[in-house]
């Protein structure tokens, strides 16, 4: 459909190529098309920088709006897609890309660039933005006097390095000589309406630039970049989640474990939701009714008090239960709540950003209100709270095996602090408050940056300690069902062998069957010295390198703050030692793997 309306002017193809492509595409069903697009993307990457820049530049005489997103959870992608749709509606030529798929050396030919990006961890770019970020800050980055750009940052004010990646992009593009189309905005987790406004404003700014060069009236030219084609559009999404039935909630850590990890099975029956191994499931949740009651009791607000939430009118109890965030605290709440109740102590705390972050580290909303009881109006309380964001869990199943089910591996956030037990919002909901047979609102968040190799013969190395094992359970199910012959090597770790060996029996079976070629485990607290997955990788370094050399894809899932970095360092050491490479060459080796989508991470 898209390709049928493709015209040469808006693409890097010649008219003849367009005809040939259209001829081929007309014979393909959607699944074949998806495969071809993935195939072409992969071969383009394997060809390295072989994409002819000149041709690309000269074949695109019309103004093109390039929209890049750096996205960890899909939010930035959604905003970018929304912008692309708006531009497309105006018949502009739009190039919407995952930042990981962008050829950085094309930057010097760009005229109009929009970046929507989140920030990860301690101010680092999200996984799929890493390469572009690195390029932009390297000596190779070209001067960009021709470029007009706009940057939108998505973030979370409870983090110290709020929207730092967006700020970095903004500042760096300016340094390279580019001109800002409109000011950068840094948006908090309830970004939706502000993002829409920002997009709208940008369209208006661009309007005069594109008026003259708008493409002929032959339909849309949004080029859906290969790799994004996988999941067919569903009628259920983040805005309209599906009310799914909870089938199973099974604890899969032993009774003496310090961790509570749940294997969750949810039915997608009755929806048209589908997913691929590597995708995530978005989960909305209801807050703990006891928490809601206590909050209303302390603030002396009747549960039936009417409030406004955007366009909605509802009772405060409804708003607190299912619409607002009560478990994750953040600076803006302290500001607004302090103002509402006129607490000087809280206002003073809010003024000291460092002290505030420490204060908020373990506290949920209820802790703040308990410590600083006051009487805000119902609307003030609602306005101080931010909108609930769905939590994303890497899917732990393959539909080829579980059909209309979706499985998750959920680590329950539970800790004692300030005299009470605290539970995570979504994990507490799934593990403690939802009974089997109850409904949970879900949607599929695709992740094209975490995919099995197209070629079933390709070996894979999976590093997934803790709940990071989830997508690899999906990978293994998928490969078993497909009869994939490629070797599979899993590295798993957790504190204790007897208590925390997630999916132990399944993995033992896979090992026995031969589906798992190798399984290396690191149980950090079973001996005096702590042993983690990176130590196991190092121990098997020579084999790890040999696997990489024969084309293995490498995947890491799990904790991004420590584990993924330690594993990365271990990989560098392995490549140096067993590949006889310098530190720089080892870096380059991994960069190339990344470029070829052979080194993928799903970290949180």
């Amino acid at each position: 459909m898209l390709l049928s309306s493709l015209v040469a002017q808006a693409s890097p193809l010649t008219e003849q190529q367009v005809q040939q492509l259209q001829g081929l595409v007309s014979q393909l069903n959607p699944i074949q098309q998806a495969w071809v697009s993935g195939y072409l993307a992969a071969s383009a990457q394997l060809a390295g920088g072989a994409l002819p820049q000149q041709a690309a530049a000269s074949a695109a005489p019309a103004a093109t709006l390039t929209i890049l997103y750096g996205s960890q959870t899909g939010n930035a992608r959604h905003v970018a897609e929304q912008l692309a749709a708006q531009a497309k509606a105006k018949q502009w030529a739009v190039n919407l890309l995952d930042m990981a798929d962008y050829k950085a050396n094309q930057l010097k030919n760009e005229q109009f660039l929009t970046i929507v990006t989140s920030t990860y961890g301690e101010g680092e770019p999200p996984e799929n933005a890493e390469a572009f970020y690195k390029f932009l800050f390297s000596k190779k980055a070209p001067k960009l006097p021709q470029l007009k750009y706009a940057v939108l940052g998505l973030g979370d004010t409870s983090y110290e390095f709020f929207c730092k990646t967006a700020q970095d992009f903004d500042q760096r593009l300016a340094e390279l000589g580019a001109t800002a189309l409109q000011g950068r905005q840094d948006l908090d987790v309830d970004y939706e309406s502000a993002a829409s406004s920002w997009n709208q404003a940008l369209i208006e700014v661009l309007e005069p630039e594109f008026k003259e060069s708008a493409a002929p009236a032959s339909g849309a030219q949004v080029i859906a970049w290969p790799g994004q084609t996988a999941a067919a559009a569903s009628s259920y999404n983040k805005q309209q989640p599906f009310a799914a039935e909870l089938y199973t909630n099974q604890k899969i850590t032993g009774r003496d474990s310090s961790k509570d990890v749940r294997h969750i099975e949810i039915s997608l029956a009755g929806s048209d939701l589908s997913y691929q191994p590597g995708d995530a499931l978005g989960v909305y949740f209801d807050n703990d009714p006891a928490l809601v009651r206590e909050l209303l009791q302390i603030t002396a607000i009747a549960s039936t008090a009417p409030v406004r939430l955007g366009e909605q009118r509802l009772t405060i109890a409804e708003a607190l239960t299912s619409q607002l965030e009560l478990t994750q605290s953040y600076p803006a709440f302290v500001d607004k709540y302090a103002a509402a109740i006129g607490s000087e102590a809280l206002q003073a705390l809010a003024a000291d950003k460092t002290a505030l972050r420490d204060y908020l580290a373990l506290r949920q909303i209820i802790d703040i209100v308990r410590e600083h009881p006051g009487m805000p109006s119902a609307q003030q309380l609602v306005d101080a709270l931010r909108k609930q964001q769905p939590r994303l869990y890497s899917i732990a199943s393959s539909q080829t095996e579980v059909e209309d089910e979706v499985h998750l591996t959920v680590g329950v956030v539970r800790y004692d602090a300030f005299g009470s037990t605290h539970l995570g919002g979504a994990s507490g909901f799934l593990a403690e408050r939802l009974a089997e047979g109850d409904t949970v609102r879900v949607f599929v968040e695709k992740n094209d940056n975490f995919r099995l190799p197209v070629n079933d013969d390709t070996p894979i190395i999976m590093v997934g300690p803790g709940t990071g094992i989830a997508p690899f359970r999906a990978f293994l199910q998928e490969r078993e069902q497909r009869g994939a012959s490629g070797d599979n090597w899993l590295f798993f770790g957790n504190p204790h062998f007897t208590q925390d060996f997630l999916y132990q029996v399944e993995l033992q079976r896979y090992l026995k069957q031969g589906l798992l070629t190798r399984l290396d485990v690191a149980f950090s607290r079973d001996q005096a010295e702590k042993i983690y997955v990176q130590h196991k990788l190092l121990k098997q370094g020579s084999d790890v390198f040999a696997w990489l050399e024969r084309g293995a894809h490498l995947y890491i899932c799990g904790d991004g703050n420590r584990m993924a970095k330690d594993v990365h360092q271990a990989l560098l050491a392995i490549i140096q030692q067993h590949g006889g490479k310098s530190p720089e060459q080892a870096e380059q080796y991994l960069d190339e793997l990344k470029q070829a989508k052979r080194y993928q991470k799903d970290v949180y």
Partner: protein, 572 residues
């Protein structure tokens, strides 16, 4: 192949059981245990190694209480091993005791030391990474676990009588010598667990044979009139015969054994038979050749009929004796007179003829652990720190603080009382009751035993009290399965587990353990058992002859028929 001529008529015919293949393929008990120790994916042992570790004194077990829970958690059973030490005669030094006390606390799941009916201790719940360190620390303190399980001669028991100090010392020395003489010769244990180098030799097992014995084999040295080690539960018994307080030789008894299989009437508990008397100098030769005869003629086709008791019933006692005599080269002399009058331990202090004092501590179920208000394990460790003699584990799961000089007696007593090791409130009934371990660790258990015994005893105490027999007792034993560890098949009242909460009740053993009891109730719950006992104890109270024990009474009164010859009577 045997070094002796074989009479083919005595050899069971048919296809050898798979255990025979396993032993033959094991490279003298090595298997691939070393590889399994490196396997980090399972806490258990794979394939043949699961059985082979038994020859090294360990059983793979798991916490059965949480087996279903872990299956739902997608976790394998909580595999661990139980280790049974080799302690001939059950003697252990205070230094050794302190070391095993520490290991149990730090490296086992249950934290306990278990005193067993085989007069040794067991660790329960040792996880794989701790297995090798366990053998190494035991080796460092002079203990091993070679051949305490599997188809070999197991830990050799010896009567714990501390009074006849000199005689006991002599008998004990023989128990040690017999144990050493019958050990496997393979270096597998040293190589696997102690990292000793593999020596290129052609290994042979001249006594046990390259495929070891057809089945487990149990040996005792007993000093009449005590029958604490229960001769009739054992394949081979050396009954000490003394003249003027000096050991001169042994009556040899063979073919006892208590295991059976429910529903298989070719299996039964059986008393030992007398082979005759031998002077001391032939002791090791006789021990060796009872073993080699059983090795050559024991049933290797049907494991359920593989024990010595079935060999004797199959080939005849006279033929068995003749085979042994031919191999030893000396005939047995007629049995010398001996009498057993006692089976229990003398709880409390006794003074030996050497003037040393001995304190027998009643350890319920043999569980050495700190219980609320009764920190038994700490107490024993405190005693071990000051004790200058030794400890003796008894076949009744009790512990003797032996060889206490007069001047230390008060201190030991004070410590024992302080930590609840002396409890004057224990009834005779409680002191004469026993159970095997069963749930949650034993993979064979069908019903509770050890965890159930204390409350059962309390209820039986109540029945005795009700019928004005509070000072009396009935030898009461509970086992979780019909394999015999708790020796219920030599009890006056024996419960053998059938299913959770269900037991067979056997009645009619005697006080000294010379009679096998007979089935009275089949597969019943506690209520029925207690109703029956209530009624029978009531009759016993009224109808008993002077000093007539419960087991003798039920036979005389015709409640159950006497089992005289197990093969014909037990299932009749």
């Amino acid at each position: 192949m045997s070094q002796y001529p074989i009479n083919p008529a005595f050899v069971a015919e048919g296809k050898l059981s798979d255990n025979e293949r396993l032993k033959a393929d094991s490279d003298h008990l090595r298997g691939t245990i070393t590889t399994d120790l490196q396997d980090e994916i399972t806490g258990g042992f794979n394939g043949d190694n699961f059985m082979l570790i038994r020859f090294h004194g360990m059983y793979q077990q798991d916490d059965r209480d949480i087996r279903a829970e872990r299956a739902a958690q997608k976790l394998e059973p909580l595999h661990n091993v139980m280790l049974r030490a080799r302690m001939p005669g059950g003697i252990i030094t205070p230094t050794q005791w302190l070391a095993i006390d520490r290991f149990a606390a730090e490296k086992t799941m249950y934290g306990s030391i278990r005193l067993t009916t085989r007069q040794t201790f067991q660790f329960h719940g040792v996880l794989k990474p701790n297995i090798k360190p366990m053998h190494q620390f035991l080796h460092d303190i002079g203990i091993d676990s070679i051949a305490t399980a599997g188809d070999v001669n197991r830990n050799v028991l010896c009567t714990s009588n501390p009074v006849q100090s000199e005689l006991h010392q002599q008998a004990y020395q023989w128990a040690v010598k017999i144990s050493e003489h019958l050990l496997p010769k393979t270096r597998a244990y040293a190589e696997i667990w102690l990292d000793e180098e593999k020596v290129e030799t052609t290994e042979q097992e001249p006594i046990l044979g390259d495929t070891y014995l057809p089945r487990k084999f149990k040996t005792t040295v007993v000093i009449p009139p005590d029958n604490d080690i229960d001769v009739h539960a054992n394949d081979l018994n050396f009954v000490a015969i003394a003249e003027n307080g000096q050991l001169v030789g042994f009556n040899v008894l063979v073919g006892g054994g208590l295991a059976m299989t429910f529903g298989d009437t070719s299996t039964y508990p059986r008393r030992a038979d007398e082979l005759g008397f031998i002077p001391l100098e032939h002791t090791l030769q006789v021990a060796e050749h009872v073993v080699t005869v059983q090795r050559d003629y024991g049933d290797r086709v049907n494991r359920k009929n593989a024990k010595t008791k079935y060999t004797i019933d199959r080939i005849g006692l006279d033929n068995f004796r003749r085979e042994v005599e031919q191999r030893v080269g000396v005939p047995f002399e007629p049995v010398r007179p001996y009498t057993f009058t006692n089976r229990g331990d003398r709880i409390g202090w006794v003074e030996g003829i050497d003037g040393k004092h001995h304190l027998t501590l009643f350890i319920e179920n043999g569980r050495v652990l700190d219980f609320p208000g009764r920190p038994l394990k700490t107490g024993l460790a405190e005693i071990a720190k000051v004790h200058s003699g030794d400890f003796r584990m008894t076949a009744n799961q009790n512990l003797i603080v032996a060889g206490v000089p007069s001047e230390q007696k008060a201190q030991i007593e004070q410590l024992a009382r302080k930590y609840g090791l002396i409890d004057d409130g224990h009834s005779e009934q409680r002191k004469n009751s026993m159970a095997c371990v069963a749930f949650p660790t034993c993979p064979l258990a069908m019903a509770e035993a050890e965890r159930y015994l204390p409350e059962l005893v309390t209820k039986v105490e109540g029945l005795l009290g009700k019928h004005q027999l509070a000072d009396e007792h009935i030898v009461l034993r509970v086992t979780g399965c019909p394999n015999g560890c708790g020796r219920a098949m030599l009890a006056e009242a024996g419960l053998v587990g059938r299913a959770p909460g269900k037991y067979n009740l056997y009645l009619g053993g005697d006080r000294v353990g010379s009679r096998v009891p007979k089935l009275y109730l089949d597969n019943v719950g506690e209520a029925e058992i207690l109703t029956a006992l209530d009624q029978l104890i009531g009759r016993w109270a009224i109808e008993r002859l002077a000093n007539e024990c419960f087991g003798d009474f039920v036979i005389r009164a015709g409640v159950v028929a006497e089992v005289k010859v197990s093969k014909t009577d037990f299932h009749a």
